[in-house]
């Protein structure tokens, strides 16, 4: 006979204000099988948990129902507490009377009644629960990092330095990401490359890190501690071992007019190329779309000049298989172009550029060697206008969120411009200045007071070209919306930061959730910011939301420490909520008829055939068997099974039927 304790949490006002908790407790005590029920202000608090433990002992309870917040929030907390008091953790269930009741309904009878029903449902479920033991699985102590920007680099170094193997996969020919494109960084104005490139070299030299560049994740199988990743290494057309990175090929390549991605299409590169001089690995790639040989079948100049005969025109994509215990996503972000903004010229004015393009202009390694020059005619702009929120906070044409980094980099851009063109005139149209960060506000003030950047609070309505000038029609809302017209030589749009292309496809490939803007979602917005909802997969940097460098780096180290924590044990325990095929004494052995529909249904290849033998070793029956290491407990097989021979622990048929019956027959209480 079950002895169940019911514990109703007020969650302060959160539940208490709308649900009559005392009444819920009172009514639940009348439920069959409930020996004790009580309400309390904060169940999750230490005294709350002590109360539960104490009651378990005094009432020697066999099961517990905690009516409080969502189980996604505190189920582990209470299961742990109860097991400490001697109740098997899987005999504990939570009734979600906060997210699914008090927060979504108004105060009143009906709401309280719903809370009672939810408790009733869980009581009936617990009656059908069985004590379970958690499963132990080995952990493969190697991490897969996707993305070699600053976040991916930081994560890799941290994990590698903790003594674990790291496989770093980068889509581009070189690691470095967006940070390698930046000129100086706010708020210190130190050169981005000077602080980044040493880290890139560290990655290349660290014996624990295997860098696979110009590659993408092909597919992923398995689960936390035991992932199997297939990585597609795109054909470089160059033998990386033979190549010394002397760069002779790139100097001799005849097709030289290809827009350089690294320079945001403001400079040119050759068909065989290294994205930038400090690239890691410093080995060239042949861009087959633009290579004369691949287009018309002749040329091969690179092959002729290569001193180490490293060119491989016949090279093919290679699939590399890796077994890893954890994965960190660090795939970064993208910026919108200028072409999605009709009123700023649909991208038809050469001298209307994006912030990232400005970075390349300002960078000493950029197409203009650090001079600020107009893309159209190479002139140095005497008047320059920066437009903040170009796409951000713009539900109509862009995205509704704030891209977070623009306020700071725009201030920086204006500063850099003033330092390079002291007599120049820089104006910034802004809506708000969001400079929350160490030394950030001070930085912006410096731009205004010392570098005499004109900050105009208002948005720009239109930009058009006239006699080689860009006419910027804005307004000053601090002067009551007075129109302001500026004849500029160059306009820089602080275009919004958006998810990197392919983010959605990747998320679907590895089953992590993502938000409406295709940024990956964290497991909990406050308490689990670097984890995803998929155990063993973590987040670092701007693939989660737009972030500046220090934030990305700290998030990266956070993710790394999570991975290191996971690797600190050689085996980990998993919840036993998995499928099992029933067994019974001879002559039946199992009700499984051996149709093996389940095998075809299982997404994890977790079900295999098992031959049941009698004591003489004679095969009596071939039935299905679940591999507890592989089963993830989705239960698809259970719904498939025609003979009800396979069931899933924690969500068994009995439990579900009991829940349904309880929910719909609330006349008892």
């Amino acid at each position: 006979m079950a002895r169940i304790g019911v514990f109703i949490c007020h969650c302060g006002e959160n539940i208490g204000a709308t649900v009559d908790c005392a009444k819920v407790a009172e009514l639940s005590s009348r439920l069959e099988g409930v020996t004790y029920s009580v309400d309390y202000k904060y169940m999750c608090s230490d005294p709350g948990q002590t109360l539960i433990k104490k009651t378990i002992k005094e009432q020697n309870l066999t099961g517990v129902v905690v009516a409080a917040c969502s189980p996604r929030m505190h189920e582990p907390t209470f299961r742990k507490a109860c097991s400490e008091a001697g109740v098997n953790p899987y005999m504990v269930e939570m009734a979600n009377i906060r997210e699914h009741c008090s927060w979504v309904h108004d105060k009143g009878e009906a709401t309280t009644q719903k809370a009672v029903d939810l408790v009733h449902m869980m009581v009936e479920k617990v009656k059908n629960n069985k004590p379970l033991q958690s499963i132990k699985v080995p952990v493969k102590k190697a991490a897969l990092i996707l993305g070699g920007g600053i976040a991916g680099i930081q994560t890799s170094l941290d994990i590698a330095n903790a003594g674990h193997k790291v496989i770093l996969v980068e889509r581009e020919p070189s690691i470095g990401g967006h940070m390698s494109q930046l000129s100086e960084t706010f708020p210190t104005l130190d050169c981005s490359q000077c602080i980044l490139t040493p880290r890139m070299v560290e990655v290349a030299q660290n014996p624990n890190i295997e860098l696979i560049s110009y590659a993408e994740l092909e597919s992923l199988e398995g689960f936390i501690g035991n992932f199997k990743a297939k990585i597609r290494k795109k054909a470089r057309s160059v033998d990386e071992k033979a190549c010394t990175g002397c760069g002779l090929c790139t100097t001799k390549c005849p097709s030289r007019k290809i827009p350089s991605e690294f320079n945001e299409n403001m400079g040119y590169r050759t068909a065989i190329y290294v994205p930038f001089p400090q690239a890691v690995p410093n080995k060239p790639v042949i861009d087959r779309e633009n290579c004369t040989y691949y287009k018309i079948g002749k040329c091969k100049i690179c092959e002729i000049v290569c001193p180490t005969k490293a060119i491989r025109f016949d090279q093919e994509d290679e699939i590399i298989e890796k077994e890893v215990g954890a994965i960190v996503l660090a795939t970064g972000f993208n910026v919108l172009g200028t072409d999605f903004f009709p009123e700023y010229g649909y991208g038809k004015y050469k001298d209307v550029i994006t912030g990232l393009q400005f970075e390349r202009l300002a960078s000493a390694s950029g197409p203009t060697l650090g001079d600020i020059r107009r893309p159209s005619d190479g002139k140095i702009p005497e008047k320059i206008v920066f437009i903040a929120c170009a796409g951000s906070r713009d539900p109509a044409k862009g995205i509704e969120y704030c891209s977070k980094i623009c306020c700071m980099y725009t201030a920086k851009h204006a500063m850099l411009y003033k330092h390079k063109v002291p007599n120049g005139d820089a104006s910034i149209f802004y809506m708000d200045i969001r400079a929350a960060g160490k030394m950030y506000e001070e930085f912006v003030r410096r731009a205004i007071t010392e570098d005499e950047v004109h900050y105009i609070r208002g948005r720009v309505s239109r930009v058009y070209e006239k006699n080689g000038k860009l006419i910027v029609k804005g307004a000053d809302t601090l002067l009551g919306g007075m129109p302001v017209e500026i004849e500029a030589d160059m306009v820089v749009l602080a275009t919004a930061g958006v998810a990197s292309q392919g983010a959605e496809a990747l998320a679907q490939k590895i089953h992590v959730s993502y938000d409406t803007h295709k940024f990956f979602t964290e497991a909990h917005p406050k308490l689990r910011p670097v984890e995803t909802n998929t155990a063993g997969i973590f987040l670092a940097g701007a693939c989660h939301a737009p972030k500046d460098i220090p934030e990305s780096v700290s998030m990266a180290s956070g993710a790394a420490s999570k991975v290191i924590g996971l690797f600190s044990k050689s085996e980990m325990t998993r919840e036993p909520l998995i499928a099992i095929v029933n067994r019974s004494a001879p002559p039946v052995y199992s009700s499984c008829a051996g149709c093996f529909l389940c095998i075809s249904a299982c997404p994890y290849q977790a079900i295999e055939k098992e031959e049941l033998k009698d004591h003489r070793g004679k095969i009596m029956k071939t039935v299905a068997k679940v591999n507890p290491g592989l089963c993830q407990g989705c239960g698809t097989c259970v719904a498939f099974c025609r003979s009800n021979s396979i069931d899933i622990q924690g969500y068994s048929n009995e439990q579900v039927f009991a829940e349904i019956a309880a929910l719909l027959n609330n006349d008892t209480v």
């Binding site: 309904h105 709401t111 089953h511 959730s513 979602t521 239960g635």
Partner: protein, 148 residues
């Protein structure tokens, strides 16, 4: 006073359940006629449960999980959808009004959509009225399904 339907929602833990949590966190109000039963995945949902629910007196049912391709377990939601296609035919055949079952995808980010779905369903079920016909035949049914 207006008839308050009994509606059971079978939802997946990873998308819709989390979505409904978000509805709460964002304090969006919705009708309390719907109660949620949590599953690891819509792929787990044996449609016998729907019949059981009707047998026990449900007036309407919501089945909701992850959007196509977003399934936490790769393909559970597809299995559920396929099974639903077959099952719907069966329902119509045995004369159960399939308008009483609402199938939907709601992600962990779609709190508002959950509230919408609930209110829409409650309204449409109210229009259809209480569902007693099936309970009559259900007696025999109960025995059959619960012995599994």
């Amino acid at each position: 006073m207006e008839f308050e339907p009994k509606i059971v929602a079978f939802v997946c833990n990873w998308c819709t359940y989390a979505g409904a949590d978000l509805t709460g966190t964002s304090r969006i109000k919705y009708s309390n006629d719907v109660k949620i039963i949590r599953f690891p995945c819509t792929g787990r949902i044996d449609f016998m449960y729907l019949l059981k629910a009707f047998a026990e007196g449900a007036d309407g049912i919501i089945v909701s999980g992850c959007h196509p391709n977003d399934c936490h377990y790769t393909s559970g939601n597809f299995h559920a959808r396929r099974r639903w296609m077959v099952f719907e035919g069966l329902l119509n055949f045995i004369g159960i009004d399939s308008r009483r079952i609402v199938f939907s995808w709601i992600s962990a980010a779609e709190g508002a959509k959950w509230a919408e779905l609930v209110n829409k369903t409650v309204k449409s079920i109210q229009e259809l009225g209480p569902y007693t016909q099936y309970q009559k035949v259900a007696g025999t049914f109960k025995k059959e399904v619960t012995n599994g």
